[in-house]
Every structure is written in C-alpha cells, then in structure tokens.
C-alpha cells in the first residue's frame, strides 16, 4: 500500500499532465488551472518541512553545545527574525516588507552586501587558480587555454583596442564551437531527462520512494 498509492498518483498525474499539454480544449485548461493552483499549496508543505527540519537540527546543536554551536544562532535568528519583522511587527514600528522598514533595511544592508561579497570572492580565487592550475600540458589543454584567453580578451573593451580580430574570434568561438558543444550536451541531457521521467511515471524507477514499503 505504501508503494502502490504513491506510484499510482505519480503515474496518473504524470500521464494526465503529459496528455493535457497537447490538448487545446477547455476541459484540458481546467485541469491545468487546478494543477497550477494545487501545486504551490502542496509545495508549501515542503517549506514547512524544511524550516521545521532546519530548526530542529540547529536547536539540537545548541542544546548539545556541539562543535561550532554558536553559528546555529546565526541561522536561527535571521530565519525567524526576517519573517517576524515582515509579517508580525506593525508598520508603525518599522514592520512590513515595504521600503524603509526594518525588514528592508536588513535585506538591503546585510543580505545584499553579504551575498555580493561572497560572489565577488570568486574573482580572487579564480585569479589564484588560473595562476596555479591553468597549464598548457597537452595539445588539448593548450587549445583550451588559447580559446579562454581569446574569449576573455574579446569580452572586454581592451580586446577591441588590441585588435578587432580578438572580439571577432572570441564571438566566433562562442557562436560556433561553443554552440555545437552546448547543443550536444543539452540534447543528451534532454533525452536523459525524458527517459528518467518516463521510467518514474511508469514505475520502473522507484528510488524516489526512498525505500518506503520495503
């Protein structure tokens, strides 16, 4: 029962949505509208599960004083603090998610700079990695290195200054060899997804059940 019911739901739902896509009829649209309304509601339960699980994990760490337990506060305080200011604190006291509220302040002055900083650090690590690891050890590595240098120069204005052939060659690499490789990868991934989805819909692939009912 634990396996049969979920398998049936997946099979019926999967086939229904697959067929629905190709039927431009009013009833078909009703099915789609209902699905679009239902899916986020079902998805919301995953959010509850996720927040609950995260909270449990970190409260447990704090209670046990596990290694680096102090950082768990850094997870829990914003996790509940942001919704608290956005949803519970009245607007007259700086609540709400509008501009000039506490939520907006925390977002613009803490979250935005933190995320931007984290992403910016990539530049430093890429520079270091390029120096230490980007070697023309073989013919293929040399081709890769040359292509990378041409595209890097072609993408910035100084490439135009150094010579028109640089941006033109860089764009040629992106538009033709890169495109061909990407298309091949995308087709491969697409067929793989199709095969996996069909296997899930028809119950051949059952790993997603997580061993339930065994």
């Amino acid at each position: 029962m634990k396996r049969t019911v979920p398998l049936m739901i997946v099979m019926v739902g999967g086939i229904l949505m697959m067929v629905q896509y190709f039927i431009p009829h009013q009833y078909s649209q009703v099915i789609l509208d209902n699905y679009v309304e239902w899916a986020p509601i079902v998805g919301a339960f995953a959010l509850i599960l996720g927040v609950g699980s995260l909270t449990r994990l970190h409260t447990h760490k704090i209670r046990r004083k596990a290694k680096n337990w102090q950082y768990s506060w850094a997870v829990l305080i914003p996790l509940f603090g942001m919704p608290f200011f956005a949803l519970i604190v009245p607007q007259s006291l700086g609540g709400g998610s509008e501009v000039h509220g506490v939520h907006d302040f925390l977002f613009m002055h803490i979250q935005v700079p933190i995320q931007s900083t984290m992403f910016s650090l990539l530049a430093f690590y890429i520079a270091s990695a390029a120096f230490r690891a980007f070697r023309a050890k073989s013919a293929l590595a040399t081709i890769l290195l040359l292509a990378a240098v041409i595209v890097m120069l072609g993408q910035v204005p100084i490439g135009d200054v150094l010579g028109k052939w640089l941006p033109n060659t860089g764009l040629w690499i992106l538009r033709y060899p890169n495109l061909a490789a990407k298309r091949a990868i995308m087709l491969g991934v697409g067929f793989g997804m199709l095969a996996t989805n069909l296997k899930i819909i028809f119950g051949v692939e059952r790993n997603w059940l997580g061993g339930a009912g065994k």
């Binding site: 520079a127 070697r135 204005p157 100084i158 538009r175």
Partner: protein, 333 residues
Amino acid sequence: MSAVNIWEKMLNVDRRWIFLGIGIVSIVPFLIGFGMPITTTIEVEGIFDYVDELGPDDAIFIGFDFAPGTQAENMPMAVAVMRHAFHNRIPVFMTAYVPLGKGMAVAALDYVTNPKTDGYYERVLFEDWADYREAGITNKEELTAAWESDGNVLSEGAAGWVFEGRDYVLLGYLPLFHLVILGMTGSIETQFPVDYHNNPIGGMPILMEHKSLREVDLALTTSGSAACTAWITYAREKIGLPIAFGVTGVMATDYFPYIQSGQIVGQMGGLRGAAEYEVLLKENGITRTTGKAFRGMDVQSAAHIFIILLIIMGNIAFFAGGFHKKTRLKGRR
C-alpha cells in the same frame, strides 16, 4: 640561488600577493574610469531593436530572477531595459523567480525613479492617482496632461512621469515560479491577485489591457538561475511569447543554442551585455549617459589582463623550471 629555485619560488608565491593584485586592478580602474569604447553585438542589438519597436499599446515583463550575488551583472541589464521601456511608454510587469529577486526589483525601481539618477523618472504611486482612475482617465497621455494641469510639475532633470498600475506594476515573487508562468499564460490576475504593495491588480489599467501572457509582447529574464529555461519551456514554447535573456557571464555560453534556434530575440551576456545596452541607449538618445555596467567594463578589462598575465607567468615558470617533467612540485603548492 639556482634558476630552478627561482621558478619554484615563483610558482609557490603567497596567494595573498595575487589577491592584492586582483584587489588593486578591481579598484583603481573603477576610480579612474578609462571609458574605453564598447562595440555592440547582434545578440544585444536584437533585444534593443525589439524593445525599441514596441509602444504604449504593448507590454513587457522584466523578470528579476537573480539574487544579490549576481546583481553586479544582472541589475544593470534590468535597469537599462526598464529605462528603455519607460522612455517608449511601454508598460512593464516586474516579477521575481527567486525570493530575493523581489528585493532586487524594488532596488531597480528605486534607482530608476531616484532624483539622484541622471534622467530619472518621477514615480506616482497607485493611490495617488485614484481620482483620475475613477474619472476614467487611464490613457497615458491624457493622464499625464490631467496630472500636470492639476499643478503637478515635473522636476528639472526628470525624464517623465511613471504611474504605478499604468506604466508599471511590481508583482513580486511566488513559490514554484515555473508554475506561475504556466498559470499566467491563462491569466495574470489569478496568479497575482494583488501586487507587491497589496494593491488589487484587477483595477490597474496595465492589467486590463494585458490580462495574460498571451497579450504581452516580450519577457526579459535577467537571471542568475534556471529561470531562463522555465520562461522558454512554459511561455515561449506554449504560447509563443518572445523571450530575451540577460544572464551572468558564466551562464552566457549555455544559451547560445537558443539564439541560433530563434527561440529568443537576443541575449545580454554578463556585464558586457549590460554595457552594450547602455551604449545603445545613449547612442539612440534615450539616456544622456551610460551607466554602471559601462564603467564596470574598465574593471573587467584590467582584471582580465591581470589574470591572463598570471596564466602566462604561471606557464613560463612551469615549463622553464622543468616541472612538466616531474609528477609533483616541492613546497606547498
């Protein structure tokens, strides 16, 4: 000290020197500003030309489908297209594929309507022009004339008025946004009964004239995520909605097949793409100056040159030192 030792020492250089170098080449050009010219590509011109042909009877979606991490690249793209749309009086719907994108949309709108921004647009909130709506004045030109005849004067330096609910609406974020796109192909209002400020969107002229994605003329997704493919799968392929991409530099290479297949009208790739759009705006007299992306290209030029020099130096040291013959370097590499 033997020659080999010099090369080995060079390869084992403390990484903090490299960090310092990249820090300097990132900061100095930004402060000086070389203003090197940027040539435009057909990928960006495709978007510009498409938007330029639209008018007040059309509408576009701008998807703020990125988090603050990639805002340096994605934000100037969204801002440039928003300014273009406001200039041509094209109504703009703003959405977010990721939760933090909502904040990015607010920040972009604040920037475009901030008096400190050159050629800013003066914003009129939805509740501020309620009387005009009740009087049935919703046409942009009539609304502007009526608004100004009531004593509202456009500030010096402002490029025009933008009325919330008429010229733009900030719809915000909803979870499982790919399903939201699918739902909007039938009705925008069923997915977003209210906007970001809790205004019912059913009473907004922008929605009355464009009830679903079928009545929209372009969706630009500025993205640092998988939003691009969602817009293609659920909007382009289902109802034929024209799509344009504004993606980060590292993602740009992934989406060239969509350009060649004609599934998107164009693509802005990374900061370069945004800078090209800013150049096109200036060349066509839509803005007086270029923006942050154009300025950022000087930094990118310097950083790319620096990284290429590092690669060259690393390879010289590697081969001159004969390390290609050894399996492993000594030291703490």
